[in-house]
């Protein structure tokens, strides 16, 4: 049933010099109906790893559950965390295995490991592409890509990345009716996994106005 899908979404992942930034809107839609104004679309899966979800909510949540359990099992038996590359490869295998009855999702998986900040995008048939700059998914992604393409700078730090993510989301939410409501941002560095406070995001938006 197509109506039950989270078509409308904007998610953004940005690779920065000291970490990665993931950002999403918080609107979930069913057709023209806003099903939720406070939908969760960034999920932490283990210590320094997170994924953003766009597409079918149920499919996405099942994948998040699989990944949370797989990364936990990996960590308790091997005594070190799964790398971002390993996690994204595993997730691609899960998607690929259901090639003929797909999880209807578009995902960005990013995190920080021994090799530094890493970011991967995944499609429903298990396609896996690493990006060392930025990526965006969902119905708002064309608008977000426009901002990201023009304003992303190599070597920018996470604080600059957060501002860019908010700017790109703001553009997407202004022109895509299926993206909107509040902005959620997560920063992952070597030191921490941090959900940026709503007040900080409000402040960034005010400064832009």
């Amino acid at each position: 049933m197509k109506e039950n899908e989270m078509h409308g979404t904007t998610t953004i992942g940005i690779v920065c010099q000291d970490g990665v930034v993931l950002a999403t809107d918080s609107r979930a839609t069913m057709g023209h109906m806003i099903a939720s104004r406070n939908a969760k679309k960034v999920y932490r899966i283990g210590g320094r790893l997170a994924m953003t979800t766009a597409g079918s909510v149920g499919d996405a949540q099942q994948l998040v559950k699989i990944m949370s359990i797989e990364t936990k099992m990996y960590k308790v038996s091997r005594e070190h965390s799964m790398s971002v590359k390993a996690a994204s490869n595993l997730l691609a295998n899960v998607l690929r295995a259901e090639r003929y009855y797909q999880y209807r999702v578009q995902l960005v998986l990013a995190g920080y490991d021994k090799t530094g900040p890493r970011l991967f995008s995944l499609d429903a048939s298990g396609g896996l592409i690493e990006d060392n700059t930025f990526y965006s998914t969902g119905s708002g992604s064309p608008m977000a890509f426009g901002v990201l393409e023009s304003q992303y700078a190599e070597g920018m730090n996470c604080d600059e990345g957060i501002i860019l993510a908010v700017r790109a989301l703001k553009a997407a939410m202004a022109r895509d009716s299926a993206s909107g409501n509040t902005i959620k941002v997560v920063k992952i560095t070597q030191e921490e996994y941090k959900e940026i406070e709503d007040e900080t995001i409000d402040y960034i938006l005010e400064e832009m106005a």
Partner: protein, 250 residues
Amino acid sequence: MNEPDLTEYDRSAIMFSPDGRLMQVEYARKSIAKGSTTVGIRTKNGIALVVEKITSGKLMVPESFKKIFLIDDHIGIATAGLISDAQVLIDIARIEAQRNFASYDEPIDIDTLTKKICAYMQSYTQYSGMRPYGTSLLIAGYDKDGEPRLFETDPSGAMFEYKATAIGSNSDTSISIMESMYEDDMDLEDGILLAILSLHNTDAKTFNPKKMEIGIIDENSKLFRKLSFDEVEEYSKMIEEMIKEKMNEK
């Protein structure tokens, strides 16, 4: 009539002897009593698991095998007996913990996990062609409601809860030391020291931290973790000092 020969009934794990015993299960307990000593102690603000490993020869790398395992964030297991058997049970415990999380989106309770492992071990005493696990486990962790729990498993599949207990060789000595010195309001720090002390006879003057493995979970974090070598060394030094003081008093 002669007494029945018990050795005829120890060939299969699943056959009772005429006086109602499962001989293979009793032999499994003997294999546990041959190995290293493993101690668990529950205190008011945490649980400690301590193992003194038996190493064979100077050239062995003591860190290469483990007796204490992380199962989930909030659970640790210490083993005594056959390491190879233990590792299978550890894998099962880890899977059961995650299966609970997948089904209910909440961490597994310690008694639930213990029951699952015990039910699995019990099946090895009832189906043909099986051999019971030659392993005993100490399962430690915090329940969802914040209660610290410490369980022991037996090759028969029985489970017991303790404030403090020991399994493996010389466990009787360790238990009697803890019985005489355990106090209900002791804290984790004292618990760790008592556990280390109980592993050695009280006459010991030196402790080899390289052979010791310690895992703890405390009330604040409710996260199980293994102590680093430096931390273990610190505890063994503390206890050496305490014993020295006691000797001087005498």
